[in-house]
């Protein structure tokens, strides 16, 4: 986490409780945080635009005003930048008409030049201004129709529309992935603060002064960063829009599935937003311990390949594995349930089978935001299950006669290193995609992708996280990898819960856990970091 000097301090379970007086009533709130978070902890929501729990406080929107009793009487202060002190007296709109009016006036100013094109705005339905308007605005319009809304942004993007109104900046191309609508921007500077203190690359700037402020990049430069799509998440209005999702779907038509991104061992928590049987977008799911509110572009845009190049379902029959040694290889996207099924398969085959896991992709350094740099997502889980690393297999490839890969695209990941595996005659591949390994395999069996299965994974911080099945599987006949592997082992795993029971048998650290006892933000395993 950045050590920016005014990064908000968020309350934790260990926060000391202090007594403050809200509307003359004594309440116990976390004492080491700001007033906005403290009020939130006791169930009082304060409308805000520029404040974001994982961005440095800027305090420019003035929407979160509360009244505080001070030496000079009751004064309006912004709750996002006021630290909680014991015994402070706070007045919210529930008791103070002044706070109510002040918030309403702020809201009115915010909307003075904000276009009311909610019907065509992609943010409509999840827009902070809409929420704030319902909560503290609801004022009658004092706007004179002969003046209309005025555009004060970048003069280079100004135009006059058919009604003779000054408008501008409807689609400013900020970079390869993000578009800016300058008319809708409320200058909260969240995106600027994100790029500055989280992404660490100051590519966005506020230009101009006062009413004429607008967001821009440096001349001749573009917004291009691994985390640049996060600015579309932090944007409270529809100013920053992602090109891939622009106009694709109205947000209220999307259903959300909470799951975990399996392309990195940090396991960024995500929402899969789906409708009509396909995923439309991937949004970060806030997890303070793992990825906070951030998600890398790689994880976010990976969903575009999920339903392409898939293997069809097929009927399975009893198989025999010959007499030679068998290498069972788990890929990085295998869940704990899949690993347990593979262990069952090994037990049914006896000593001639060996378990390997991992990926041939390079491990890079963690970036400190939402990626650990390790493309093998469930590496910690494989360690707990006792899987050897796949590099071991490459060294001893000549011993084996059968290669059984699950979700492991070894040939696609590193064709040169995987060349030794071509000497293994029988190659069985369980994979969702018709990838290199499936093409080289003697038998390729289609399975469900990780976005379509329920399961668990252990991330690089040793936190068990839950995956949920998103109902977007292109072929309903496809089965989850654990079900197929268990069938080949001659046993039956009806559901993910059954498979998870096997996991708790194999891994002592999982003892006593169930899907219900693992929270949505995961459960830290005993024994600290793996």
């Amino acid at each position: 986490m950045s050590n920016y000097y005014n990064m908000p301090k968020l309350p934790t379970e260990a926060s000391p409780k202090v007594e403050i007086f809200v509307d003359d009533k004594a309440v116990m709130v976390p004492g080491d945080t700001n007033l906005l978070e403290a009020l939130k902890a006791v169930g009082i929501e304060t409308p805000h635009v520029c404040y974001h729990p994982y961005l440095p406080v800027s305090g420019n929107c003035r929407q979160c005003l509360v009244e505080q009793e001070g030496p000079r009487g009751r004064m309006l202060v912004i709750s996002c930048y006021t630290p909680v002190t014991p015994g402070m007296k706070i007045y919210t709109p529930a008791s103070s008409a002044r706070v109510k009016n002040a918030r309403k006036a702020t809201q009115e100013f915010m909307l003075v030049n904000h276009p009311l094109d909610c019907p065509i705005c992609d943010k409509a339905g999840e827009c902070t201004l809409q929420e704030n308007y319902m909560e503290c605005g609801q004022n009658e319009s004092r706007l004179r129709p002969e003046y209309g809304k005025n555009y004060h942004g970048n003069p280079a993007h100004q135009f006059v529309d058919a009604k003779g109104q000054v408008r501008g900046g409807k689609h400013v191309d900020l970079g390869p992935r993000v578009l800016l609508d300058e008319e809708r921007c409320v200058q909260c500077d969240r995106c600027v603060r994100f790029m500055r203190s989280i992404a660490g690359s100051e590519q966005l700037q506020l230009a101009g002064r006062a009413d004429h402020t607008y967001i821009t990049t440096f001349p001749g430069e573009k917004l291009d960063h691994e985390y640049d799509l996060c600015v579309t998440d932090v944007c409270p209005v529809g100013a920053m829009t992602a090109k891939y999702f622009r106009f694709q779907k109205r947000v209220w038509l999307l259903s959300h599935t909470p799951t975990v991104s399996m392309d990195d061992s940090l396991g960024a928590n995500i929402w899969l937003d789906h409708a009509d049987g396909r995923i439309y977008r991937v949004m970060p799911r806030c997890n303070p311990e793992v990825n906070r509110s951030w998600l890398s572009n790689t994880s976010r845009l990976a969903f575009q390949e999920f339903d392409k190049n898939r293997l069809p379902s097929m009927e399975l029959h009893k198989v025999t594995f010959g007499n030679g040694k068998i290498a069972i290889v788990a890929g990085g996207t295998c869940t704990m349930e899949d690993l347990a099924a593979m262990k069952m398969l090994k037990e049914s085959l006896g000593d001639r089978a060996e378990l390997f896991g991992g990926s041939l992709l390079k491990v890079t350094a963690p970036d400190g935001i939402a990626k650990s740099g390790d493309p093998c997502a469930n590496r910690a889980g494989m360690k707990l299950m006792g899987f050897a690393d796949v590099s071991e297999l490459l060294k001893r490839a000549s011993e084996f006669e059968t290669l059984f890969t699950v979700n492991a695209n070894l040939f696609g990941e590193d064709a040169n290193a995987a060349k030794v595996l071509e000497k293994i005659n029988t190659r069985v591949a369980l994979t969702p995609f018709d990838d290199e390994t499936a093409k080289k395999a003697s038998i390729a069996i289609g399975v469900r992708h990780w976005s379509e299965v329920q399961g668990t994974m252990v991330n690089s911080l040793n936190i068990v996280q839950k995956l949920s099945a998103c109902p977007v599987c292109p072929d309903e006949g496809l089965k989850a990898p654990y079900a197929v592997v268990a069938f080949l082992a001659g046993e039956k795993l009806e559901s993910a819960a059954d498979a998870f029971k096997k996991v708790t048998e194999y891994v002592p650290a999982f003892a006593g856990l169930s899907y219900d006892t693992i929270k949505s933000t995961g459960k830290l395993l005993e024994g600290g970091n793996a």
């Binding site: 019907p119 058919a162 106009f247 109205r250």
Partner: protein, 188 residues
């Protein structure tokens, strides 16, 4: 609750024969009227005679047009959200006109599912959707043909709506040239 007591039949009515003749007379009267004084009948002989429909009648939909002929629809999906029968399907895309953000790419109304409630017309924020075409009969050979597409919905003639100034703004209308001048204003 109100109880209505039926008057008991008198003895002539109970004889049946006179009442039967009276009923036949009614039938005969209307049959004769259909033969000799056809125009006074309260019904119309439908396929040949068409009913008079007002423009407030909720008939088949149409999409209003801008002066340059593009549909006024901004693909916001409000009509689809308001539709109780879920018969409107909209896909949006980026507009080529720099002044306009969003344009409709696909706009389908399934008239087999439509209940003609008019909620979509009320929901439209830009007055793009109307139900004043006065088209009330839908006859097609396949189910697919009952789905009106964008071309079908925008393919109307301003001459059919002489009293509606908004329709006259569309290409071919009397006010089109005037509106086009304003619409095609130089973009600064």
């Amino acid at each position: 609750m109100r109880v209505i007591k039926q008057r008991p039949m008198n003895w002539i009515e109970r004889l049946y024969i006179f009442e039967a003749i009276r009923g036949l007379w009614t039938t005969l009267k209307h049959a004769a009227r259909g033969l000799f004084r056809y125009e006074t009948l309260p019904t119309i002989s439908y396929p040949e005679g068409q009913p008079e429909i007002r423009n407030t009648y909720r008939a088949k939909h149409r999409l209003m047009l801008r002066p340059d002929g593009t549909p006024r629809c901004v693909a916001c999906g409000m009509c689809a959200a308001a539709c109780p029968a879920h018969c409107i399907f909209i896909e949006a895309t980026q507009s080529d006109d720099p002044r306009i953000e969003k344009r409709v790419m696909r706009f389908d109304i399934d008239h087999l599912t439509c209940v003609f409630c008019g909620l979509c017309v009320e929901a439209c924020p830009v007055d793009a959707l109307r139900m004043d075409t006065k088209v009330i009969s839908f006859e097609h050979r396949t189910r697919e043909e009952f789905v009106s597409h964008l071309f079908d919905l925008t393919n109307w003639d301003p001459k059919d709506y002489p009293n509606d100034p908004q329709s006259q703004v569309a290409p071919g209308g009397t006010k089109n040239a005037e509106a086009l001048k304003v619409w095609g204003m130089e973009v600064k």
